[in-house]
Subunit: 220 residues, 8 copies
């Protein structure tokens, strides 16, 4: 076969392998989803999938849903398990990445609150909601340009902060590389960083946190 | 004064501002430590400090200790709080960075187990301890060259994985930039990454995780 | 003329000059193929050629074949000569590059087995076939993102390993540069690397190996 | 001669050519200073000059002074002309660059106030002095690592902000290139940026501002 | 809501938040403009907006104007306040960036004179107008390729010079990065630089200068 | 222990793990060599080791030898097995890297001929020995600056060619990165490349070739 | 006006300013050409102009010609003046750049011979014509990928060699940057280099050579 | 032997192979010089050689001379042949590179005039000598930082201009890479560029020009 789906991943890591759509033919996506639905029990996700192929795959496997802003196909989303994730954006240009992070996080059972457009050029916007943000179990900061929001948030909250650099902007922004390097060099201790534009990566990092918290809390 | 120490950070984030020694005069370090010891209650840390200045600062502030491999000065380490952190290295060249991560993590109250020299060129070394690693609350992977260990570990364990790229190596390793980019591009979902050689950053990220777990566990 | 085809290359190196299609007019490709078919005896290859021009060139020179996944036009493929080449991919995104490697390798007389979608995020997939892979004369590893598969394979097999970085992925993957640098920095000794996306280069490197083996084996 | 000193620059731009010491022999510096003192009326400056050569040059041309933290030699400093410049640093590592900016600015007649160690990881430090900063005619922000302080200050004050990236830090900080790119990509509109570690450049930019203000204010 | 418009910015910095159009849906731009017109008194600007969406937004909010060369939408431009800004271009390829700088500058109340096509390959063109340029309060230099015009102008005038690197050109021009680095490394003291192609950034930097001059001049 | 030596590697790959000396304490090297000598049967190698530590380790483990030009420590070199390797250098600056390649290759049983200083600026030097070179089983090309020798050799011989970029040179040579990129982009089909300055990597790649040839030749 | 054409350049440098078409409106090109034809006597050139706008401009200014391969519009080409320029290409992908170099060179009065497709992978092709090439007054080498042809030619001929890196290729070729760096690092002494893909630049450099030769030869 | 000296180069190119000293043992340099003096008739040069080894080599081969500023050893300099080369520097930091260019140029028979410290920040210095510069057969421009001098000179003179980027400066100057890229992107048509700090390369390029002129002039 053209793919060797890692269905054992669900047992190992709580979620089966997620399908990355770009470059895959729609027929292949449909077949992989079939196998995943068949051989796992939890959420099945396809990321970065556009409306057109999404429709075709959904027709073959009813019961799923497509979030066009997040470009996510999801079947059998996990029930919310009490882990509260705050997702912040610096500006409206960060929306698509935040949408992916939010949709993936919800599909794997996290409870998400979005704090949008709180970039540091108008600092009061962040200060107004800082306490509310700090009350979450973890924070994802989505920011392009110079990514300064991550440092400021990292200095305000005590919980884990995952920074997602965004590729929007121009010139010296270098398609997100500047935000990436800036977040990695942050003066706020204990920030961690995922790949440029990877709302998916941030959500999966948060899911690992949620599993750690959960396993400590006991059966509940 | 030459410095405006952020002593409020302890209240906000569980640990007061840590001092980064490079570029600071020994007298300044001594003065900042005085202020930190005076105006906070928990651990006081100075990172990347060599033996010579360490001796001087310790003479002024007895009761602390210097770990030369980790280049860390620490006073009033936090008592262990049950959070189990595994730190893995790919090879012996990664030792200094792992030493910093371990020393900082222990100083802020985490319980650390080291798994050394388990690089993927001899995979059985990792597979032999994989189960033991997976039983921890979080994993820090310290690796230079191509950093492949992070991806392999990320695929084997369910808990949070923080990857630390290391600057050793030569040529195409680009002083750690290659490992950094590789870890950010990992095919293992949900890895997060800190700055090159930043054992400190990884430990502080783990500390944020521990606080999140702790706050969920209740007063306990 | 617009081209000075190196037909002497067949005598020198076992295969005549291969034509790189991008940027060439279809009429020029047809003329170069004519010259190559006329003045050499072995395989004649055109790489990276799309369906449309392929059809036109094939019409002018019947007897060849076009592999659309590999984007390869080939006439007079060499008969299989017993050299067993394993081609591995990390994920389905690596398929087109692996297809080029396989098609070129077969056209110059190698025997190819494909091991697909055995990336390290689900390590058991690779371990399940490791022994089978190790039984080949040489291995080509095709992988994008962080390219960790090359290091792991390099540690498992004793034979020559040629790593091909792939340009798929996004952000920190830097269009294959990260995989390239990672493969060059591999902790597995004796890996060699070809250009990004160059299935052609890997196959030709394997062909050089096969010629070395063959010349040693004697006429038999 | 070995140099063609641009003494006409004083008439054109208010300050004669400043001497950049690195790579120049002490004897040459002494000779150039002689010419500048002789053929201009205002401040004469030598930048980046260490204690040893400074002593020699001062011996030949008494009446000047050497600021070792700023590595600046100055003769005939301009009298203060009422332009109030605020210089902010993110941390103590930025001190040498801020010292150069302050010393050059004072030598050309600006009135400087330093706000040190107000990095965004402990935001309250900046907020505590924001109003005081905003009352100046211009602000220079000196910051390394990710340089986020520049964006935050840019959002808080209305006056011109000149950002100076600093080369301290390690790894992803890329010797100041990350701070440089981040400052250029800032979400705060109307920031301008000078070269890495160029306290001199920032002070001279402020001097141009002061001249513009002065020429508008009239003879005074 | 999808956006948290920083209307307080007008009080803080003299101009309300400007809208960056790329990536925003036309409906969102219309809504943000509504809020800005409603909650501020001065100029309202949308940058980098193409003819098509501009028409739609203007229909909803009559009284504004669209400058297609500058790609700027503006309502309630500020009255001219006597600050004279010279904008120079090296060649005709720099026109669009200069157009944005000029349109934004005029919208916020500056008086703009354009000096076009005065690149250093034909130096007499610049020398012919140098005196006229030097009589302005500030100069913006817009130049691509190697950006040498900024250095030459920086050596000829005493007032503030803001350099804008332009992304046109090819090869070693690296999409404006070469001009950017060259301007930052300029031998002319006190130049400052904004992001590649950021006519907007240069105009806003000039606006900060104008405010500094204005606040010094007194009420008028 | 501080190290987990991969002694199983001998069984898997024909040579036990080789020790990379930089960053390791001499005592650790001595201990690792002890373990390798004890638990394997074939060659034991330490690379990049300077004269001083080499002496100490040899004193503890007599019977080995140190090649100072190659910076290699070797015990129990393998007997020559008939595989003929040609190593070419472009100039005398490439000597140290070629020395490492030659010493490692001989230690693992290959027969090495060196062709020195045959760079393409004086092409006749290469043409004079081209036939002799082509008679080998494999060729290693060691070249810095622009690395053109690899392409020319790749076009002249039919056997496997491993290119080693060298870090000598200055400016645009970018410490070997230019030669590396040039070799990867070579117009000669089927070249493979190892890391900058990695004489070791080239020798180990040749060893993999030798094993492939050997396994095909049969026991005899 | 939108342009300040440097018509004085003809007196200064032998050829009036050449027009770079990309980014210019066709109407503007027509107007600039009008001015150049009117105010100079020699060749008038427009580079990088596509068929469509070329037709329009030619209609307005008859008597010129458009070379579509070179994308050059030329009026009043200079008569051949005896300077013999050899232009070499490594492969057929270098044709468009060589075409621009040839067309511009001929338009300014040089005598051009093309040697095509003589890349070093089939060295005999170059050796066969080396003597003929060496008989020219200057050589332009056009090569992409690793650009090795420039070094080999530089070692074979005594006259000036101008190397033009070409952006074709993929992956490690980095859009011509690799060839550029390689040519600058060449082991052949006295090569000079122009921008990537700049056939225009190479031809103009050759024109400067021709003028130097001519001025020395006397009116003759 | 350790070297294969290209003595045939004198016949081919007018000057025998020049020795690049860095990385070579003094004894080897002595031996190579012996061979060159013995087997050629013209100038013998060793570049980048420090005072200490220079003394030793000169002792073995009397009759040569060492220029410490140029770091050049030369025997049998060619007699001046009437080719007038102007070498310009932007500032005193460019002196060492200009010294190498001048010394090599004189050793191969060119007549050199130096124009020092004529950088564009004080343009009148260049304009004062522009006519004198333009009267030469060729110009070498040596400049660091942003390298703008090359563009300005390129626009003022008609003869060949070779630009040499210099590695002095800091930050965004990127060790000469910025000047290199800027010179390659120059708006002045027909500039050519050599490697960073390569005074040698510029002189050898000028020598090729001189040979072209000479061969045209006839026997003289
Ligand atoms: N052309 C532009 N270039 C850079 N920044 C801009 C531009 N136009 C608006 N901005 C800034 O972008 C921010 C708005 O971002 P957003 O929330 O995505 O609309 C504001 O802080 C503006 O100052
Ligand atoms: N949006 C995404 N970004 C990065 N990795 C992803 C994304 N979606 C899925 N993946 C990962 O990609 C791998 C699947 O690759 P493939 O075999 O090509 O489908 C899995 O290991 C997923 O964890
Ligand atoms: N193909 C080309 N590549 C680089 N520069 C060119 C080219 N064609 C014309 N030029 C230069 O571009 C400048 C004209 O720019 P512009 O004012 O934008 O027309 C002149 O200085 C020409 O020497
Ligand atoms: N897919 C490919 N990737 C890299 N090189 C190739 C490829 N196909 C053909 N070549 C090489 O490209 C050269 C032909 O270039 P050209 O003269 O432009 O056709 C030959 O030396 C081939 O070995
Ligand atoms: Mg916003
Ligand atoms: Mg090890
Ligand atoms: Mg897969
Ligand atoms: Mg601080
Ligand atoms: Mg122009
Ligand atoms: Mg040599
Ligand atoms: Mg060809
Ligand atoms: Mg000077």
């Amino acid at each position: 076969g053209f793919a060797r789906v890692d269905t054992a991943r669900e047992a190992r890591q709580g979620v089966a392998e997620c399908v990355y759509a770009p470059g895959k033919r729609t027929g292949h996506i449909t077949a992989i989803v079939a196998e995943l639905l068949d051989r796992s029990d939890g959420p099945v996700l396809v990321t970065r999938v556009e409306a057109e192929p999404a429709r075709t795959v959904l027709a073959a496997h009813p019961g799923g849903s497509h979030d066009p802003a997040a470009r996510l196909l999801a079947w059998r989303p996990a029930p919310p398990d009490g882990f509260r994730l705050a997702i912040l954006t610096a500006g409206t240009a960060d929306e698509p990445v935040a949408a992916e992070a939010a949709a993936v996080a919800r599909a794997v059972g996290l409870e998400v609150t979005l704090f949008r457009d709180v970039g540091v050029a108008g600092l009061h916007r962040l200060l107004d909601c800082a306490e509310e943000v700090a009350a979450h179990d973890a924070v994802v900061v989505v920011a392009g340009m110079e990514g300064a929001l991550a440092s400021v948030v990292g200095g305000l909250v005590a919980c884990p902060v995952v920074a997602v650099p965004v590729s929007t902007g121009y010139g010296a922004g270098l398609d997100g590389v500047t935000a990436l390097l800036a977040m990695l060099s942050s003066c706020a201790a204990g920030l961690t960083v995922v790949n440029i534009d990877s709302g998916f990566g941030a959500a999966m990092a948060a899911h690992r946190l949620a599993m750690a918290v959960r396993s400590r809390r006991g059966p509940g």
